[in-house]
């Protein structure tokens, strides 16, 4: 029985980490049961409706490092921004939620006795995933091919009626030049990784500075492979160090 403080909760919007400018978040998941009570029923009877979700984020008005205000203003007319919220923080192994969202309101609030607030309500635009951070480590490129395998996690098997989802956020941490990074999420039926299968392939990107953000999906495997891990390969002449945050989850197709 874990009980956690919310003091280190993490907030990601696409490739941006806004944990440093947010101070309160509410995640609301709902479905409205429809009443289907018939005369012959002894009690009120209901059936499930369609689920929906909203993320309400209260934050601080920041215009640089990070430019939260600017990004949120831009996002007023953007669509399908991926918001990730991790109650225990952005550490590997932590559970959280990722959802494709649109802003439904974003007030800036100035009061004489308080800091300026920038609050955002994100309306879910499609199915959210209950995600787990399965990689939160760095890879340092050295001019030759470097292969890094992440820790394996037993996340269960996924039927073909589900879509498995990977979210990859890569942050350049230093070095020089340019590198090619390939990332995939592999699966295996145990933690020995004798012959892993590619479960989700993100492809290859060339990166130098800044942050990259990719999502990739695949149909559930209908197999017995319940272990998942990340494999990252770097190549190219650069000497960059990259921090990789990779989340994994699923939704019912």
């Amino acid at each position: 029985m874990a009980r956690i403080t919310a003091k280190s909760a993490g907030l990601l919007v696409d490739e941006f980490d806004f944990s440093g400018v947010s101070n309160s978040m509410d995640l609301s998941f709902a479905e409205t049961p429809a009443e289907v009570t018939a005369f012959a029923d002894s009690d009120l009877t209901f059936i499930q409706g369609k689920p929906t979700f909203t993320f309400n984020v209260n934050g601080l008005w920041s215009t640089a490092s990070p430019n939260y205000d600017g990004e949120m203003f831009t996002d007023l007319t953007a669509t399908n921004r991926r918001v990730g919220i991790y109650p225990g923080g952005l550490d590997e192994g932590n559970f959280g939620y990722e959802g494709v969202t649109n802003i439904s309101s974003s007030p800036r609030v100035s009061t004489i006795g308080d800091a300026i607030a920038c609050n955002v309500t994100w309306q879910g635009a499609s199915a959210p995933i209950r995600s787990r951070i399965i990689e939160a480590n760095t890879i340092t490129c050295n001019g030759s091919t470097v292969v890094v395998n992440g820790t394996g996690y037993n996340l269960g098997t996924f039927a073909t009626t589900t879509t498995i989802v990977g979210v990859w956020r890569m942050v350049e941490m230093g070095g020089s030049g340019s590198n090619t990074i390939a990332l995939e999420i592999q699966s295996e039926n145990n933690d020995t990784w004798g012959s892993p299968t590619t479960a989700i392939n993100f492809g290859t990107i060339t990166h130098s500075t800044g942050v990259s953000f990719l999502t990739a999906t695949a149909t559930g495997q209908a197999g017995v492979e319940s272990w998942f891990r990340v494999q990252i390969q770097s190549s190219g002449s650069g000497s960059r160090t990259f921090k990789n945050y990779v989340s994994f989850g699923y939704y019912v197709t």
């Binding site: 009980r3 956690i4 919310a6 101070n23 995640l27 998941f29 709902a30 049961p33």
Partner: protein, 143 residues
């Protein structure tokens, strides 16, 4: 006259006991009353409709696998139909003077989570609240 502390309540949803996360449970039992007052009546008169039961719960967020968060979200997310809900107010039932309320999953009967909210304040604990609408019969067992 018995007086019972609420400190030992038990609550489970879809066979997952979550009383180790919860700190508040409210069972709402309602009956829609239809007014049937006639001109000749001295007082307003009502007639009972069908009864309904719902639960409001709140407690500490536990994100670990197979705990409350995973169980409740999976139910909403997969719309997998009503689940069995059990509420034992004093944690000692079911027994005489120690009832246990159960909404058992079967067909249209069972509990449906209609809302689930996670609260993450920077200065406090991660908490959640949820509302379960019982569909069909909720039983009160005393043995």
């Amino acid at each position: 006259m018995a007086r019972t502390h609420g400190k030992d309540s038990n609550f489970s949803f879809n066979s997952v006991a979550i009383e180790d996360e919860l700190s508040s449970i409210t069972m709402n039992a309602t009956v829609a009353e239809s007014e049937i007052t006639a001109f000749s009546d001295t007082y307003q008169n009502f007639i009972a409709g069908k009864k309904g039961v719902s639960f409001d719960v709140s407690g500490s967020l536990d994100m670990a696998a197979s705990q409350g968060d995973a169980t409740i979200f999976d139910h909403i997310h997969t719309t997998s139909g009503p689940k069995t809900l059990v509420y034992d107010p004093d944690g000692a039932g079911p027994d005489t003077n120690s009832p246990e309320y159960t909404c058992t999953s079967s067909g249209l009967t069972g509990a449906i989570c209609s809302s689930y909210t996670i609260n993450l304040p920077v200065g406090g604990a991660a908490t959640y609240s949820a509302t379960f609408q019982c569909s069909g019969s909720t039983t009160r067992a005393v043995s």
